[in-house]
């Protein structure tokens, strides 16, 4: 199926476009942040861009911690087989 066909995402520069688009959308979400009136139960949640920064650092922390956990938890694929 579609052996020879080249897809849009097959080109490296297009992946870079996607990558930059993510940055751009995030920037945009920060720009509109002051325009929206928030009514959070916790005061700190109303800080500028709180949810964005929380999400970014939560994920970086999550991935790096999980990566470190691999050193302790990783076993060969057939570990339980014998």
């Amino acid at each position: 199926m579609n052996e020879g066909k080249t897809y849009w995402l097959d080109r490296k520069e297009n992946v870079t476009i996607v990558y930059r688009a993510v940055w751009a959308v995030c920037g945009l979400l920060l720009l509109v942040d002051p325009l929206v009136h928030k009514h959070e139960a916790f005061g700190f949640a109303e800080w500028f861009g709180f949810f964005g920064f929380f999400g970014f650092f939560a994920c970086v922390g999550l991935v790096l911690t999980a990566k470190a956990l691999r050193r302790v938890l990783k076993r060969p694929e057939n570990y339980y087989e014998h």
Binding site: M1, N2, E3, K5, Y7, L9, D10, Y19, V22, W23, V25, C26, L29, L30, V32, D33, V36, H37, K38, H39, E40, A41, F42, A45, G49, F50, F51, G52, F53, F54, G55, F56, F57, A58, C59, V60, L62, V63, L64, T65, A66, K67, L69, R70, V72, L73, K74, R75, P76, E77, Y79, Y80, E81
Partner: protein
């Protein structure tokens, strides 16, 4: 004909007819059963029906109220979608088990007493295990046995708890128990096993990915959500559950990040989503219970959709290992699209189902002032987008091209995924449809500009984190490996201990037999000399002598006493 009969029987008795039907008739029959069951629930007025006597107690086979109905509706909807998804298979063994399994879960939801609950509880275990066995590999067979043992243990605990509860209270009714009621801890433990509480969770990640292509989708819908229902019924407002649930949302996502089998990744994220529901039960306010029910409802749909898409990949590409997949969007564009809808729903993107259900639980946590819990849930929300929302579609359908070229999923699978996707979006766009089914009236408004903005910030910045880690090469690659979890204790430690014990006992036997071999003959001679005929220890003494000795002892005692 009276409509007052257990809805579960439509599916369970209907399942028994399946092996006798062929081809299109069987397909139509299987499609008709969940539709009939759903219609039955729609016409049943609230109340309690079918109450046979049992050992002087009254069983309640059909308790219809808003809580049981909400779960009843979604269970029958899930049954219909799963039937469509598995129509391409001609395996009556699985088809009977799957329908009976769905029926048992339905029966348990409508059970008004602990004995009926127990019977259906066990039925879900013995019917669902067939869906793992049916993979027909040694690996699946062993996983199925472990699964069955854990499930039956949960049932035994439930029965024990019910008996203790009955002896103390004289009632077998299943209403709000709380941890103060007699036998309550046993019942909570039984529910906790089935709900995959932390440290009791590993049967889920162990067994679900080993089931058949369609079996995993069936399994994902019923067992754990039945446990959520049971918790909501029996333990609403039990504060301990807030902490248990919060831990549940957080720790499985670390495993999900480094797991290679994408169906196991989904099993970890299933566990994480259950955590949100358990937190809702623990908070126990009307808003929180609504949140739990709503989230269970939308979760069953988007989780089924994700498992369906990975099932299609397993069927067509022959593997769901992230390390071997990639670029499948070229071969399976529809499956890719449906998977992304499921991913957006579980991640709680605005306009998708997770957005309008998870928000109720986070709102309830905020209202109750549970700051730490709220932060943990927020962390888990970012994390779930990361591993279910991005990792699953990315490694299966995009990433580097694995050069696997396969056919698109069978048409029935595409239809099932399409319908499920429509429901996921439908609930997200029109939340009132779901809110109207919830146990309590809903005043919550999910679509405010602040909520949409903050949620988009959380998700897009999580996506940014993924992109940055990918571009910088810091993201851990998918590796062919297993990661140690709680099952290590019973899959490695316990057999190792048995091994050590066997070796020790063997060694002891050897030493003992050698010692006896060498010492045996001389020892026997000594024993014969002392205890044998005429030996000093086998002499008979006269009664008089004995009496004399006793009186002397008594006299000595008296003297000692006065001294």
């Amino acid at each position: 004909m009276s409509i007052e009969f257990p809805t579960a029987l439509i599916l369970i008795l209907g399942a028994l007819a399946v092996p006798f039907l062929r081809g299109r008739v069987r397909a139509l029959w299987m499609l008709a059963l969940p539709v009939l069951a759903f219609a039955h629930l729609v016409v049943m007025p609230t109340g309690e029906y079918v109450q046979p006597g049992f050992l002087g107690q009254t069983l309640v086979l059909m308790r219809v109220d808003r809580l049981s109905l909400a779960f009843g509706y979604i269970f029958t909807i899930a049954t219909l979608l799963n039937v469509i998804y598995s129509l391409h298979e001609d395996d009556p063994y699985q088809q009977v088990a799957a329908l009976a399994y769905a029926g048992s879960a339905l029966g348990a939801v409508f059970a008004g007493d602990l004995i009926t609950l127990f019977i259906y509880w066990e039925l879900t275990a013995v019917t669902s295990v067939v869906l793992i066995w049916a993979r027909r590999t040694e690996r699946a067979r062993r996983a199925a046995m472990r699964y069955l043992l854990v499930q039956l243990a949960s049932g035994m605990l439930l029965l024990a708890g019910a008996v203790v509860h009955f002896q103390a209270s004289g009632s077998i009714r299943f209403d709000l128990l709380g941890v103060g009621a007699p036998g309550s801890w046993l019942i909570l433990l039984a529910f906790g096993i089935k709900c995959a509480f932390p440290l009791l969770h590993n049967w889920l990640q162990d067994a679900y990915p080993e089931a058949t292509v369609t079996g995993t989708v069936w399994l994902s819908a019923f067992t754990t959500k039945l446990a959520v229902y049971a918790l909501a019924r029996g333990y609403a407002g039990t504060e301990m559950l807030i902490w248990i649930g919060a831990v549940m949302t957080a720790f499985p996502i670390f495993y999900a990040v480094i797991e290679n089998d994408l169906r196991r990744v989904l099993a970890y994220s299933l566990n994480n989503q259950l955590g949100f529901m358990v937190v809702g039960v623990g908070i126990g306010t009307e808003l929180a219970i609504n949140g739990t029910v709503a989230h269970a409802f939308s979760h069953i749909l988007y989780k089924a959709l994700l498992f369906m898409s990975m099932g299609a990949v397993l069927l067509r590409a022959g593997t769901v290992n992230g390390s071997q997949l990639g670029g499948l969007y070229k071969s399976m564009p529809w499956t890719t699209g449906f998977c992304i809808v499921g991913a957006a729903s579980i991640s709680a993107f605005p306009l998708f189902s997770g957005f309008i259900s998870k928000a109720l639980i986070l709102g309830a946590a905020a209202d109750g002032g549970y700051t730490i819990t709220w932060l943990v849930l927020l962390f888990a929300s970012a994390g779930v987008f990361h591993h279910s929302g991005i990792k699953i579609p990315y490694f299966a359908f995009f990433a580097h091209d694995s050069k696997i070229r396969c056919a698109e999923a069978p048409r029935n699978m595409l239809i099932a995924m399409g319908l499920t996707a429509v429901l996921c979006v439908g609930i997200g766009v029109y939340p009132d449809a779901l809110y109207r089914l919830l146990p309590h009236a809903v005043t919550f408004v999910p679509y405010t500009s602040a909520h949409v903005l903050t949620q988009l910030q959380l998700l897009l910045f999580s996506a940014l984190a993924f992109s940055v880690l990918m571009r910088t090469g810091l993201y851990p690659p998918e590796l062919r490996a297993v990661n140690l979890d709680c099952d290590w204790f019973y899959r490695k430690l316990a057999p190792a201990l048995v091994g050590v014990a066997t070796t020790l006992i063997g060694a002891f036997r050897q030493i003992a037999s050698e010692v006896m071999g060498r010492l045996g003959a001389p020892l026997a001679r000594v024993i014969r000399e002392t205890h044998g005929d005429g030996g000093p220890l086998s002499k008979t003494l006269s009664t008089g002598t004995m009496a004399l000795w006793i009186s002397m002892l008594l006299a000595a005692y008296l003297v000692m006493y006065y001294v």
